[in-house]
């Protein structure tokens, strides 16, 4: 767990209990492969997510791999249009690490193409799932706080 002197970057990701459980369940359902999905929410005038999440889209990992993921292109367009119908945007991608920690891998950093998004990692390596969230910009990783509201 981050200590009291850990610096978080904006925004705070806020998930309801139900959203958190949907994300984690999808990750377990994907085993032995990595699972992935998208989150939608409001963005400010600057294009930056506020951290609120209005929809969780469990997606298909087109790679069907325990080491890599690619969000199925058809899931991607469907989720995007759904978010747009509410004047919102896709704001995050989540994916699981089946045997490593909830921290972006070198591959994750290299392939992060959305400077405005949050990158949510769910580690399944321990008995309990660990969910952490990051910004990945200019090849640098900065952690964001996550709050799971009571459901």
């Amino acid at each position: 767990m981050p200590g009291p002197d850990t610096e978080f970057t904006d925004p705070v990701l806020v998930l309801s209990g139900a959203q958190y459980r949907t994300i984690v369940a999808h990750c377990y359902d994907g085993l032995p492969d990595e699972a992935c999905g998208l989150l939608a929410g409001p963005v400010g005038a600057d294009g930056e997510p506020t951290g609120a999440v209005t929809a969780v889209y469990p997606c298909t990992n087109a790679d069907a791999s325990a080491r890599t993921y690619t969000v199925d292109s058809r899931d991607l367009i469907r989720a995007m249009r759904d978010a747009e119908s509410r004047q919102e945007d896709l704001v995050a991608v989540f994916h699981s690490h089946t045997h490593s920690d909830a921290y972006p891998s070198d591959t994750d950093v290299r392939q992060a193409m959305e400077p405005h998004w949050l990158y949510v990692l769910v580690s399944l390596r321990h008995a309990e799932p660990v969910l952490r969230t990051y910004r990945i910009r200019d090849g640098r990783v900065a952690e964001c706080e996550v709050v799971v509201a009571d459901s």
Binding site: T70, L76, V93, M113, P115, H116
Partner: protein, 91 residues
């Protein structure tokens, strides 16, 4: 055929910051070659060196992924919307 091409955040600086541009062509490939002529910074982002659709880009004609249609040979009609989205991937 005159179509609208929607560009993702990462490619907009190559098109003068535009999120959406109008373009001409009979196929998606024609449209992209015309765009690259107009905005040379897009070269290498849409089409690879072999002239194929770039591996890390998804392209949709009115929400249909062109990889399930005719790839860059997919025909376009007046008023079609071509959406370009980076692949969402990692490991």
């Amino acid at each position: 055929m005159s179509v609208e091409v929607r560009l993702p955040t990462l490619l907009r600086p190559h098109a003068g910051g535009a999120a959406s541009v109008t373009a001409e062509g009979a196929t998606v490939g024609d449209v992209f070659h015309g765009l690259i002529d107009r905005y040379p910074g897009l070269a290498g982002n849409l089409v690879d060196d072999a002239g194929q659709l770039h591996k890390f880009v998804n392209v949709y004609r009115n929400d249909d992924d062109i990889r399930y249609l005719d790839q860059l040979d997919t025909k376009v009609a007046d008023g079609d919307v071509i959406s370009v989205l980076p692949a969402v991937a990692g490991g």
